[in-house]
Amino acid sequence: MTFLLIITLNFMIPRLMPGDPFTFLSAEEEGQVFISYSQEQIDKYKAYYGLDKPLPVQYGHYLVNLCRGDIGYSIYYNVSVLEMIGKRLLWTVGIVLGAILISTVAGTMMGGGSAWYRDSLLDKLLYFLMITISEIPAFLVGILLLFILAGQFGWFPLFGGMSSFAQYDTSLERVKDILHHAFLPVLTLSLTRVGGFYLLSRNSMLEVLAKDYMRTARAKGLARVRIIFRHALKNALLPVITRVFLSLGAMFGGAVLVENVFSYPGLGRLMREAVMLRDYVLIQGIFLFVAVLVLSMNLLADTVYKKLDPRVNYYDG
């Protein structure tokens, strides 16, 4: 149901947009050689892509093709959309996963520590810092990092996913180059996410620490490390884990901006290019892909949560 609505939305929106892929080409930037199409060519291409048929027919075709796993060819690049997404996807997934990993681990550790030493100076300072950081939008942090660390000090490359035209002697060098390029985008994304994880794990830890079994554990004389890790953290992590899956969706959204800051060759950058070029098929493909990805992540979050916490099922009846 939700999927169908998204597909329909996805089909309609690009078609309602003003402008079309043909008029655009003669309208932008001077100094470039551009190709303008004659009316004949336009008609031919419109027929070729099925854009001349009435909307319901186009919609029918769209659905049928979708079921076959075919989301069409990009109008501008003339390459299969799936292939283009595939090429860019790994970059985005890479930085998103990296950022999730870093922000979760760092956030939980700081949150746990903050809760353990509640109301100490450290706790208050961290709390203030984390709230502030989590409120500043990702792309602003990204721009600042880019200018200071990459522009001013030259520690990191200014753009791209790997050095262009580089020859690598070993695959290790290649990996190093890619990591070097990914560092700033990942750092940016994690910085803006870490606050959320911090607050969540701090709250959840505080709740757990107040439970009776914590007092029991302490009364038994268990070692502190054992109490923290086995009794407290294990229970406090539950909401954090669901949040990881849920924030994957938001991360993909945030990645769109961050990728554009760093000119990182991921899906987000492709999406902006597609909108700028009014490449319907490409926009549709990317949007559909991201939407489905986010939806499945939310579903996964639900399932994982139910597996980890059987009580949820119980209450649902």
Partner: protein, 305 residues
């Protein structure tokens, strides 16, 4: 008898009709009291936000130069006449920041107001009517919440055409779900209260119920939610403008950034120190202060409930 007793015990929270004239006054009074309860950080945030609001309102008087005509050499460093320097066309940056504040505030307020009022109305309908209407509306909010916001906004923004009004509309389209849900769940719980049932049994109409019984307890919740929405809208507008998908005519903070970052070779120059840093500082200050104000208000509202 029983019901009447319950009714009385619930009364202090509610303004009855006859006190209506005073309630506006009381609202202002409450606001002042609320501000007094702010933590030092909250107060600081309030001051920062107030300064930015002033900058937006009195943009003409605060800036010596025009915000869209050159008034000096290109790329001048911050100095006596141009406080924040100039951009590549020699336009004063301080003026641009002041006018940008106006754009940001307009987008923030516009979205918050539209989404807050619209969302609350939808929430009231959903919670009060129940049944199929409620189900359909809740499904819709489910759908909108799940949609990846930014990609969707990029697509929609391009579709509506990039005028400021449309940016506000698109943002509101994505933000009404939060107040709607909050209002709905509140209505659901108030609906069961004895005083509402009593009022209904006396023959109170829907509008009377909303005005007298629902509104007082809904208002603080909606206001807090609106402040949150405002912050989010400002960020989203800045993001869209930064991508070059905002209103090209409104000189918003995001657009200054977009302009600056597309300046060739800016990474290797000193210009970014004023050209890029000032809009970033402005957006960050605005958003963070709004967030802190929202947090403080939320704490107050929650403690009262």
């Amino acid at each position: 008898m029983m019901d009447k007793k319950m009714l009385n015990s619930n009364l202090p929270m509610i303004n009855t009709g006859s006190e209506h004239g005073q309630s506006k006054f009381a609202g202002l009074h409450l606001l002042v009291r609320a501000v007094k309860k702010f933590s030092p950080i909250g107060k600081a945030a309030l001051v920062v936000a107030a300064i930015i609001v002033m900058m937006g309102i009195f943009a003409e008087h605060l800036s010596l130069f025009s915000n869209n005509l050159p008034s000096g050499y290109a790329l001048e460093a911050p100095g006596k006449s141009h406080w924040l320097g100039t951009d590549d066309l020699g336009i004063d940056l301080w003026a641009q920041i002041c006018y940008g504040a106006r754009v940001s505030l307009m987008v923030g307020w516009g979205t918050a107001l539209l989404a807050g009022v619209g969302g609350s109305l939808i929430g009231v309908v959903s919670g009060y009517a129940g049944g199929t209407v409620d189900k359909v509306i809740m499904r819709l909010t489910d759908l909108i919440i799940v949609l990846p916001e930014l990609p969707m906004m990029i697509v929609l923004g391009a579709f509506f055409g990039p005028s400021l009004k449309n940016v506000i509309l698109v943002l509101a389209l994505f933000s009404w779900t939060e107040p709607a849900r909050i209002v709905r769940s509140k209505i659901l719980s108030i609906k069961q209260e004895h005083y509402v049932r009593a009022a209904k049994s006396y023959g109170a109409g829907v509008w009377h119920l909303i005005r007298v019984h629902f509104l007082p307890s809904l208002l603080p919740l909606v206001l807090v939610s609106m402040i949150r929405l405002m912050g989010r809208a400002i960020v989203a507008e800045a993001g869209l403008a930064f991508l070059g998908l905002g209103d090209p005519l409104s000189k918003s903070w995001g657009l200054i950034l977009n302009h600056a970052i597309n300046f060739k070779g800016i990474y290797f120059t000193e210009f970014w120190k004023w050209w890029v840093v000032s809009p970033i500082t402005a957006i960050s200050l605005m958003v963070v202060s709004i967030a802190f104000i929202g947090r403080e208000l939320e704490k107050l509202v929650n403690s009262k409930m």
